[in-house]
Structure formats: C-alpha cells, structure tokens
Subunit: 740 residues, 2 copies
C-alpha cells in the first residue's frame, strides 16, 4: 500500500471516529480537520497506533491517563478570581487549564467521551462566569504588567488560553453546534478579544508577555476560523508589522538566536515561540515560519541548549541555578525542533531530558529514542551575539575537553540583567569552578519573601561585586541603574578559535564615567599541559585615580596560598557599606607575593584549581564570604577573593586559572596539589600587550594582543622582545617558545 | 568429562605450566602447590580459563596488564629509606610492593617470564639492601608506633610484606633454588623476623597494627614452610594466646563484628583480617577460621557494609567523609566473604563497588555479576554492640524507607574517638540531613598540615560541641581526655523495633562529674505521615545548676523559623573561648517561641526539614557557623543551631525532626514547605516520661517511657493522663490517639 493511499485511509478513519455519535457536528466540521494546532489529525492516528505498542510513548500515555483519572474523580472548581500568583484561585485556574489540555489529549488517544465531556463541562462553567468578570481585584495598578480577569496579570490569562484553545481544538469534533456556540461565545472569544483588543499595550509590545498573547490569540483564530485574529497576532493589532509575533522574532533574538535576558529566561520565553510557530506551520505551511529570519525559531532552541553546562543553564543574570535542559519548555522545544529538522543530536538532549510529551512531535522523539537513533549533541565554542542586529556585544562560550569558559560581554538584559560587564564563569570536570551567584530567590517558598525575588537580589546578586569582573570605587556598573545599563553595551572586539587557542576580547567604556577597561580571555590547550588553562588579561585606563577590585568567586575549599594570610580570627566585619559590599564578611587580607600571587582551592570534583596573578607592590588580596547584613539568612554562604589595587589610574590584572592534579580520598591518592605555573609576565608597549606564561616542566608561551580602539586589521604589528623581533597581523598572536 | 577428572587434569596442567623452564625447582616444590595464600593453584586455573572469555574479569585483566606494562618499562628504584609518610622513598617502596604483587598475578595469568623476572629482580635489589639497614631515620622515638626499616613505622613494613609475600608465593615456581635462597635469606626472612621477634611490642599488642604484622608473618610462615611463625602469628610470640591474630579477633570486634573505632577505621582494619583469614582457610582448612567466634570475620565484613548510607560510611569519630563501600579494603572483604558464603546480597554491594580484583574470589564475584545473580543487600535496623563482650554501649541504626537514624551510644573508640556520647545523625532521601563533621583532615594534601590530621581535628572536630549532643558548661565530655573516655562508656538501655516504631535509649553518668543524661531516640512511622519522623527526648539531671547546650548541625539552607532572629548583621564574634566554641561564629540568637520553637531548612535533595522543640521560657536558640579562629581556612563552613538552657539543674530537650514537602525549581513546584507539627508536650511523673505529638491533619500519638536506672522488666508501669489510666510493662509504650 503506498503512502498517500495510507494517508487518505487514515483521514477517513479519523473522520469516522470523530463523527461517531456526533454526526451532525462532524458533518459541519468536515471542512476543517481537528485537532490542527500543535497536534494534527494525522498525529492522532499515529499516536493511537503507537499506544498499542510497548515503548516510551505508551508508558507516558498510561502514566498520564492514570494521573488524570484521579483528577477527574474530584469535583470541578471554577472559583471567582480573588488571589494573586501562588494563591488559591490562581492555582486552581492554572490547574484547570492543564487538566483540560491533558483530558483533551487523552480523549483523542482513547475516544472515551468522559474526557471530552470533562473539558466541555469545565468550559461551560467558565463560559458562565467569564463574561461578567471585572478586572482582577489583585491587579497591579502601577505595573507595566497589564491586568487580567481570571488572573492578576494578563500574562497568566494568555498562558491559560494557549492550553485551553488546544484542549478545545481536540474535543471540538465531539461537541454539538449549540455546545460549541456556548463555549465560543461564553469564554473563548471573550478571552481572545480581551487579550488582543482589550489589552493593546501588552499585545503589541515587543516582549515575551506579548508572545504568549499573540500565540493565544493567533491559535484561537485558527480554531474559530477568524483569519483576522491570526493576522493581528502575526502583525500587531493594526496589522502594520510594528508589533506582533513576526516582529518579536525579529527583535527579541539576536541573529544567533540569543535572547537578551540570558538562557534562564530564554528557556521560559521559548514555549510560546515554538508553540505558535508549530501551529502556523500546520495551518499555513506556505508561510515557512521555521525558515523565517534564517530559521530563527530553531536557532533559539539550539542556542538554549548550547548555553548550558552539564545539563544546567549558564546562570547569568537573574537565574535559578537548578534549571536546565530538562525543563518542560525545552522538552517541548526539542520535540518541535526535532520534528522539523530530524537532527539526531537533539535526540541525545531528549534522552537526557527523559520526558515524553503526548503530541505528534513527542511521538517522533519517543520512537527515535526507542530505536536508539540519538547522536551526541555538538556543543561548540562560539560567540552568541546580543541585540536584534547582533551588534550589542555577545556571550562567548569556549569549550575544550570537559571545560567551558563563559565570557559575558552581552548587553544589560533588561530588568533581569546584572551589572556584570565582562564577567566570566568557568566549568570543569562537570562542575562550576568560577561561579556566578545567579538570582537570590527561593522559587515559590512562601517563607522566603513570598517565593519572589528576595530583596538581596537587588542589594547583592545583581551588583557588580557579586560577579567576576572589575568594580571601580566599590560602585556597580552604570551606578546600578538598569535603564542606563540598557542603553549601553560592551564592544566585543573579536572571538577566534584556532590551533588550540580560543580567545576573545571586549571593551567597556561606559560602565563608569571616566574608566575604560578591556578584557581578553583565552582558553589555551597545549600538548604539554594536562588540562587547558584560562588566561585572563584585564587592563584598566583612567585619567583619575581609583580603587580597582577584581573578585573571583570560587567553588571549593581553600587549600593553599603563597601569600601570607592575615585572617580575622576573632571578629568579622563587612567589607563595605553598599553596592553589595555590605553583604561580604572580610575573612582575611594578604599582601600580594612578588612576582606572582597564587591561590589554590580544591573542588568536590577531586581536582585542584589555582589562580596565579601577576602582583604589584600595592596589590592586596581580600578573602570574603557572603553573609553580612542578611538578617533572615536569605543568601547562600559562598566564598570569593578580591584582587585589589587601592589607587591607580592604569592597571593590568593578568591571571592564569589552572586545573591540576587529583584528590581522591577513596583510593588515598593525591597528586599535583600545587600550581604548575612558574612565571607570568606582562607589559604593554604601545598598543601591544605582551604576556608570557611559563609552566614547570611545561610549555613556555608568548601571547601578543592588540586591543586598540583604533585598529587596522591589515596593519602589521611589530614588537621587539628580548632582542627578538615579532610581527603579526590581527588582534592576537600566540608564540610557542617551549624547548623541545 | 566429570568434574573430579577435570579437576585432576587441571592440576596436571598447572604442574606442567609451572614447571616449564624451571624443571628442577618445580620438582622440589611439588610437595606444596603455589600460589597458596589468598589465591590458590586452582584459582589460577579458573582465572586463566576466564580471561579467554569476554566479561568483567577479562576486562580488568587487560587493564591491569596494560598499566603494569607501562610501569615495567621504567627503571627499578630501590632507594635507601629516608623519607617519612608521603615522602619520596616512602612512596617508592609502597609502590614497589604493589607492582610486585600485580606482576606476580599477571605472571600467573599469562605465564610470561618477564613478569616473574620483574618480581625476582626487584626482590634481589631488596635482598641486597635490607640486611644492612638500620632503623628508619624518620622514626618517631616518642611514639607508640614502632619504627620500621624500609618505612618510618613498622605498620607500613607489615603492609609491604603482606603484598610481597603474596607476590613471592606466586612466582616461586619460576625461581631456581639459588634464586629462592637469595630472596628468602636476603629479604623475606629478615623482614618477617624484624616484624615478629624484632618488634614484639607491635606484634603482640591487640591493635590493628598488630593485625598487619601477624598477617604478614603468618603468611610468610606458610610460604617459607615455617609453621612456628604461623603459630606465633596466631597465638603471639610466646604462643600463649595473650597476643596474636585469634586474640585480636576475640577483642577487637564486638560480638556483632563492630570495631571500636567506628566504620571508617573498621574498613581500614578489615583488610589484614580477611586476608590472613583467607590464607589460613587455604592452608589449614581444619582450623575453620571463618567459623571462629561464631563467624566473626564475616560479621565484621557485613557490619562494615551495614554502617553506611548511600554507599558512604557513617562518619562517626575520625573519618574522612568521602570513604565508602567502594574502598579497596571492602572490595577485597566482599570478594572473600562472597567466596565463603555465596550470599547474593553481597553481589549488589560488589556491583556498586564496580571494581574487579584479580583473585579467585574476585573471579567468583565477576562471574556472578556477569550472570546477574545479585540480590538487594539487606540493610537492617539493629544495634551494633560495642566492646569485646558487647557490654560497652553500642551504635544503633534505625532504617525506614530512605531514612537512616544513627544513635551513637558507643564507647570512646580509642585515640580516634570523638567526645560525642549519645550523638545522633540523620539521613534522608540519599543525603546527610543532621550531620557529623567527621575528621578535620585533607588526606595527603601537603599544604594542609602535611596531609595529616589538622590541629583543628583536636580543637574542633573531636570536641562535643561539634556534635549533636549535650554540652555542659561549654566543656567536652570527659573534659576532652581520651584516656578517661576510654575507661567509660554509656549504658545502652534498650533497642526495639515493632509496629512502625524503632526506639532506643541510653544513659551517660560519667561524661560530667555531677550531671547525668538519658536520651531516647525513636523513628516513628505512621500511615498518616508522609515520612517517618524522629523523636528525640534528652533529659538532664544534676544537683547543681549548669548551662546546657544541645547543638544540631543541619545540612541545607535555613528557610524559616517561628522564633524572632536577632541576627549579627554588622559584626561576628566567636561563640566561646575553648573546647571548640572558639571556632563557631555566633550568627544570630533568638528567644524560644512558646510552646514549641520551630526551625525549618531546605536540603539540596529538594525536601524540607523542620525541628520542633518544646520551649522553656529561659531557652535560647543560637545560630552558628564554623570558621572562627581558623587562620588557614582549615575548617569547612557548616551551620548549626544550639538549643541553650542558661542555668538549670533539671531539663528536658524534647524535639521532633520531620522531613516534609518538596522544592522542585525545575518544575516550579513547591509544596508543604511548613512543618506539620501542631504540638508537642512532655512531662515527667515519677519514672515515666510522657510525650505527646500532634500533627496537622495527621496523627496524635502518646509515647510513655521508663528510663529509670532501677528498672524492673516485669513491673507494671501505671500513669494517669487527662483522667485516663494507662499501664504498660517494659521500657516504652506508644499509644495512637488519632481520631479515625
């Protein structure tokens, strides 16, 4: 039997199934198949055949059905809206949307009327209540977030409709004309119109809240046969293209698919993008939505995956550090993307997610995993440019062996952005080694500030000192003003990856009024090194003297220093008074050791890490611990040390971070517990930074950098070092001086 | 071909193999087969056949051979002894013993002469050097640990010989008579005699160092055909039985196989016990060594396993917390025990260990695992009595679901014991929830006090305040004097396990001169509770007023308290001046909340934990963090809170520890973040403690305890509570008052 014949028969079969007992309705509906949003009628045929076979998909179907059956045994609740986020009525309405969605899926898979009836009866209750509802009593009147009716903010109302319209789409063939009318006029149309015409500010803005709104309204337009609503969802209320889904795709992602707020919110924002895109592809394939803007939707999915280490998202900006690839948004994203691309690399992500979703896309993932088709996902070293045009800095990720070096030269990232220009993170052997605090928040824990962002998110976590980058005069970048931050961004000078060297540099001229700083970060792999090392060259220029602090937040236990610690053994006091400094206990101070200061710590992963920094006579090292001015124990106890130059116009912080050795108390094996860095030197002559690195029984390297503002790619740079002349074109030149 | 015929042929085959190229030697040796210690000639036949087949054993053989081959390519080093533990000559000699052992095994498996020659040539070098050696230059003259010659302490010399004699036993058939003579007279006999006749203090003591010595000397006796040495190893130098291996078996373990120093050192001590026992069983099966003292060797292996949670040893006393079931000592112990018992539960431990050893016992494990014969290991709730007669207290382990409650009513545990009478630990959902610091040590990390026990092991980790038990007047038990501690022990009153209740009580009258305390710990499982809860009733009696502190070291992040925290936000100071208090920063204080004080924390395992304690008007709660007076950052930053009664003659600390709810930031799910304890009451009337527990939407329980010193098992206890009369016989009575 050939494929198209089979497909034709399937359509007939589904038509017969759908029409069973609802002949009149089915007849009228025959012009348009249902479901037809994320799940198609053909998907239903495939899914029904799949649940007859043992495998991942069938197991998930059985689990979901049994969970749902217990839910269906409880009385339906559709309470008058009263509570804000997390409160009773909020949670009930959220849950109802999910239950209706699940019941509609199970209805399609089983054809048992009770599931369709559950959705129908629930929607009757909503249709009865909704038209009379005023704006939500808990709405925020002074907020940019617009009010809803069922919920305190219309964002939640959009999310609700995204689930409910899919549920309705799936049970529609089971309804009589009059039932449809009751539901459509009582609840679906009023909500859709409230979200579009009734909330133009949200609907037309370029923001992820608007993505949910346009997704909800557009999908409702498809189901209720209102092409005008679809047009509005795509192009904005006035169909001018100044707002709407396509404009959001143009502006909310960079050309690489990077989302301005960072991977934690990218993950959250992803769901309405992939959901609506899928619905558009199903209903209007001619729009080629997955090819729009060079495939931006798929790039967004892939970028979300790339911006992770050991399954967890890189926790830049406001981020809860437990979130990772197994979040439900990315499970959906991977399923939809795999359906489009059949990229076997996505399967290994899906396998790690270990969650099956009951859609046609979920089915294709489950079948492919049952057949062991997965291939390793190609995590790569690259720059993820920031800004709609890709010209507002970027996030650089360098990977080598089991390391990842993250260099954050992005723009501010709106309200959830941190004041951390040119911050860096480092991962090795499965673990965070040089860390970012992420956000200060215990999600949904009522006792912790209602589960919202804690006050310490502003006073500590987003401040510059909480990151691994330059703090001038104990003041955060942009003086801690988000709106100023949003108007500025670093200049990413370059990123390169060749011959065992990954390197990038960026410049910031606007974080402080009279201070410029340039940072070069490199990941250097050499055959004589057991592990790649990180080189960090941060140079600072000002016309005035300033105090310069460069913190490094390390994970692990301090093992050794070559500096003499003056430890506060009898009394701890905060390091400063404001901008996050008030939250740091000063545990010890040390004068830098000449010529190189070394600090070694041991991570729980059993490896040692040393930072070796070129010292200056006036440099101090401050060892700190989070916890001061924290009356309710809201902050985690974490450690850092700060390289401090008390007073300088010009300075260079030049350091090597080096993983080394092993601590294995199980086998009682300890080796190479000490740094293998022998010496580091740096001097700047003209535009050229000359950095030399020498390792004990290891390589000797010379790195030449040109980070000049006025830079000519074609010009030949020439330097004379130790009587020898070197010349190179471009931003950098690595010379291996190792004796062989 | 029947089995015995096959076996006979095998013996002939091995005889032929052994004799190949060394005919004369083999002829003389025919009276005694080699090897014949832990590995037998029959084992060798089986192992050679096994490496022809793909499986765990073959893989390990290939790995080991390839590691060894790279080692054999290096020049042999047998340096004149110079360095103490961890130093160069120390490590070289340690390594040489291991390499000779490995080469001898590989020789038996491959019959390649180069492996036998490696061992022979290495032994020649030792035979050349050893007879002229003085005592080791780094020996400790004031130590109870006797000096060695190759090593600074003769413990290491014993360990060295244990490996080397097994290596010699395996290559012996490949040697000529004159080669044997050179080796035996030059090194094997001198070392054995040095360890027995030359070091009588070590050899005859009842201590694990002596176990290594007797193991080494006894096995050498078997190989060199010196039955007198075997007798001395078994019964002491004078063969009186006052010393020697059998006496060690009598005295170093309790009847349950508990080793006085705790599981960390039990694991270490285990290896010479199982090794020598195996050699005895092979050479003199008539001794029935594995049945000796009701099977004490096998009990010791099983007890070591039982005293673990989630594969890690319970870290009481001096213990490095990373050590667990996968340590090589226990890999050997499990293999030898499995060979004797064929207990399939041991296989699941071996499977988790994931290490194969190249012995006959290792082979039997590998084959059984290849055949998937493993069964779950039966972790049980029981008391492990302490003391040779089992009358010196004990360690109580209570398990339920994924919980383990550990109640430490053991004796002091010699030099590695901590001052922590009636301490407790609690594990749940795979993690340590109420913790013990273990030892303060970074094993073999030179920068950390040479890798030895840190000074803070004495000043902090072994002090009472570092544990979860009563501290009177900021002074440790036995005033921190180990010798006094060793002369005393708690009285373990009882342990019982019935009807969902596991309960134990113990009394201490000797830790303080005028203070007695009794502690009852129970793990209560009830169908209306989501998780079992822990009840802790600690009563204190004195004729004088004292300050009473009861610390609880919790793992996780403080979430909520019903007490008002007065937090030190601007300045931290140490809690006290000595006995460990000087290492604690006082972070906050609170007055107890009437009637019950509640403190809730969140563990990384995603579960909440609350301690609810009956308050007194004068009770304070102090929140502390480790780190004061720690100039070199030697201590880990960990948290505790201390229930403090400032001045009292009599007091009761009555608390419930309750796991509850879930924090799942991945699915954004948080539930039951608050304690479900509604009320707790306690009163003592006569000998009877009456404790009532009431939970929100949960059970109401009444527990009656009789912890009296003068106790009559047969007497009927009678109490009247709320007008109702209760009577019971025995130590305790649990009454379920839940409304049903």
């Amino acid at each position: 039997m050939n494929k198209s014949l089979l497909s034709a028969i399937s359509v007939i079969v589904i038509f017969i199934c759908n029409s069973f007992g609802t002949a009149v309705a089915a007849e009228q509906q025959a012009v348009k198949q249902h479901p037809s949003l994320v799940i198609t009628a053909q998907d239903v045929v495939d899914m029904r055949s799949e649940i007859a076979r043992d495998g991942r998909f069938k197991k998930e179907f059985q689990d979901k059905k049994s969970q749902l059956d217990s839910k269906l045994a409880l009385p339906k609740q559709v309470p008058v809206p009263r509570d804000s986020g997390g409160g009773f009525t909020h949670e009930v309405h959220k849950n109802n949307a999910q239950s209706m969605y699940d019941a509609a899926i199970i209805y399609q898979l089983t054809r048992e009327e009770k599931y369709a009836n559950y959705v129908r009866d629930m929607l009757f209750l909503y249709a009865d209540m909704y038209p009379g509802l005023p704006l939500h009593p808990q709405r925020k009147t002074d907020s940019v977030i617009s009010a809803g009716k069922l919920f305190w903010q219309n964002l939640n109302e959009s999310v609700w409709l995204v689930y409910v319209i899919q549920a309705y789409d799936a049970i529609l063939p089971a309804l009589t004309t009059s039932e449809r009318k009751t539901i459509e006029t009582g609840i679906l149309r009023p909500v859709a119109l409230f979200l579009s015409e009734g909330s133009p500010h949200t609907f037309n803005t370029i923001h992820n809240h608007a993505t949910w709104a346009t997704c909800a309204v557009g999908m409702t337009g498809y189901v209720l046969n209102e092409p005008e609503w679809v047009e509005q969802a795509l192009y904005g209320s006035d169909k001018s293209g100044k707002g709407g889904f396509l404009r959001q795709l143009d502006e909310l992602f960079s050309p690489q698919g990077y989302y301005n707020e960072g991977p934690y919110y990218q993950r959250y924002a992803l769901l309405p993008f992939v959901t609506f895109a899928k619905a558009i592809a199903v209903n209007e394939p001619q729009r080629n939505i997955f090819s729009y803007r060079d495939g931006i939707v798929l790039k967004a999915v892939n970028t979300t995956i790339q911006l992770s280490y050991n399954n967890l998202f890189l926790p830049i900006n406001d981020a809860i550090k437990d979130k990772g690839l197994n979040t439900i948004e990315l499970v959906n994203g991977v399923a939809i993307a795999y359906s489009v691309t059949k990229d076997a690399g996505l399967l290994s992500i899906a396998k790690q997610q270990d969650k099956v979703i009951l859609t046609g896309d979920g089915l294709r993932i489950a079948q492919a995993l049952d057949q062991h088709l997965e291939q390793p996902y190609p995590f790569t070293s690259m720059v993820f440019q920031d800004g709609a045009k890709g010209d507002e800095g970027g996030l650089v990720v360098m990977r080598e062996k089991d390391q990842a070096l993250v260099f954050k030269a992005t723009a501010q990232g709106m309200g959830h952005g941190h004041f951390d220009k040119l911050n860096w993170l480092f991962y090795d052997k499965g673990a965070e080694i040089v860390s970012d605090y992420g956000s200060a928040r215990f999600l949904n824990v009522e006792a912790k500030f209602g589960g919202r962002y804690l006050p310490e998110n502003d006073t500590y976590a987003s401040q510059t000192i909480a990151h691994n980058t330059l703090v001038v005069d104990e003041t955060s970048h942009f003086n801690g003003d988000t709106s100023v931050g949003n108007e500025n961004h670093p200049d990413l000078l370059y990123f390169a990856n060749k011959d065992g060297l990954k390197i990038s540099a960026a410049r910031v001229d606007n974080a402080y009024s009279d201070v410029e700083f340039v940072r070069t970060m490199a990941q250097i792999h050499h055959k004589q090194l057991a592990h790649p090392v990180v080189l960090d060259v941060l140079t600072v220029h000002s016309n005035n003297v300033h105090q310069l602090d460069l913190p490094l937040h390390y994970k692990g236990h301090l093992m050794d220093t070559n500096v003499a610690l003056d430890t506060a053994t009898q009394r701890l006091a905060p390091l400063g008074k404001k901008n996050g400094y008030e939250h740091l206990w000063l545990k010890a101070t040390a004068k830098a050791a000449m010529p190189v200061s070394q600090i070694t710590w041991l991570h729980d992963n059993g490896r040692f890490y040393s930072l070796s920094t070129i010292s200056r006579a006036d440099m101090k090292i401050l060892f700190t611990q989070i916890g001061a001015n924290d009356p309710l124990f809201n902050l985690r106890t974490e450690n850092a040390f700060i390289l401090r130059i008390p007073s300088a116009k010009q300075a260079a912080f030049v350091s090597v971070l080096e993983p080394h050795g092993e601590y294995n108390p199980v086998s009682e094996l300890t080796f190479t517990a000490n740094s293998q860095v022998k010496n580091i030197t740096h001097q700047q002559v003209g535009d050229i930074d000359q950095v030399s690195l020498e390792f004990i029984n290891g390589p000797k390297l010379l790195l030449l950098l040109n980070n000049a503002k006025a830079f000519d790619e074609k010009k030949l740079n020439k330097v004379k070092i130790g009587g020898k002349q070197y010349s190179f074109r471009g931003r950098f030149h690595l010379i291996d001086l190792t004796d062989n």
